[in-house]
Symmetry: C2
Subunit: 139 residues, 2 copies
């Protein structure tokens, strides 16, 4: 991994929220925010307890039909010379191995105290990242 | 327009940044943050003065090959009972009419004081929104 990629990955991992783009079965782009955790070159997120579960599961249907994923984490503030974003391009898969699920839930709880209090009960998704890239205004 | 759609549109318009998902010519999802302005059911954003212009223009190449766009604006805070997001699904096009470009730049300057000081000089893109939808944790 290049120094650049490692630096982008570190920034992505520190962001509290990212946005995940997938492609719908009808071939349209889809995008939704997710709270996630980074473990090596894998990003984990999980379906938790929020209402309107049926609507959120659209992202799982998209991944089942087309596993290609792009995620972005970014920093916004009024001083636009301080903007940056990091993109992770990869492949998504639902985690079925119980040991990996346990590791993913531990990573999510470590990244988000909200999950420590109330672990996600829904499916866990892994995005295996093939490329970390980014941009910053001041560079 | 339903009351719900109007409410989601209002929230989207008030967000300082959104993320735009498109599909690359190779058929992969792509996502990038954009600062934009909402005028009726059209979202405008522009290419400005930032460095690494060539990289940012990937989003224009995507739209030229496939105009389908999904954008999301969201609110994050540590209290997850206050999370929300709004998604806009629509069709992107580069603005070529000078009068529309002038209106778009005025809308961008009204939404972002940063643009009033330094108007964008690059291409302006319009996303004509066909559907506003959203989710909020507390609802």
């Amino acid at each position: 991994m290049s120094d650049d990629a490692a630096r982008w990955r570190e920034r992505f991992a520190a962001a509290p929220v990212a946005r995940m783009a997938t492609i719908t079965p009808a071939g349209r782009p889809h995008v939704v925010p997710v709270t996630c955790a980074v473990s090596g070159d894998t990003i984990y997120w999980a379906v938790d307890h929020k209402p309107k579960r049926s609507r959120r599961l659209a992202r799982l249907a998209n991944l089942a039909a087309n596993p290609a994923v792009a995620m972005v984490a970014d920093h916004y503030e009024e001083d636009w010379s301080r903007l940056w974003w990091v993109r992770a391009d990869g492949t998504g898969r639902e985690v079925t191995d119980p040991a990996e699920r346990a590791r993913a839930l531990a990573a999510l709880a470590a990244a988000h105290p909200q999950y420590a209090d109330r672990p996600p009960e829904g499916p866990v998704v892994a995005v295996d990242v093939e490329r970390w890239s980014g941009w910053e205004a001041a560079r």
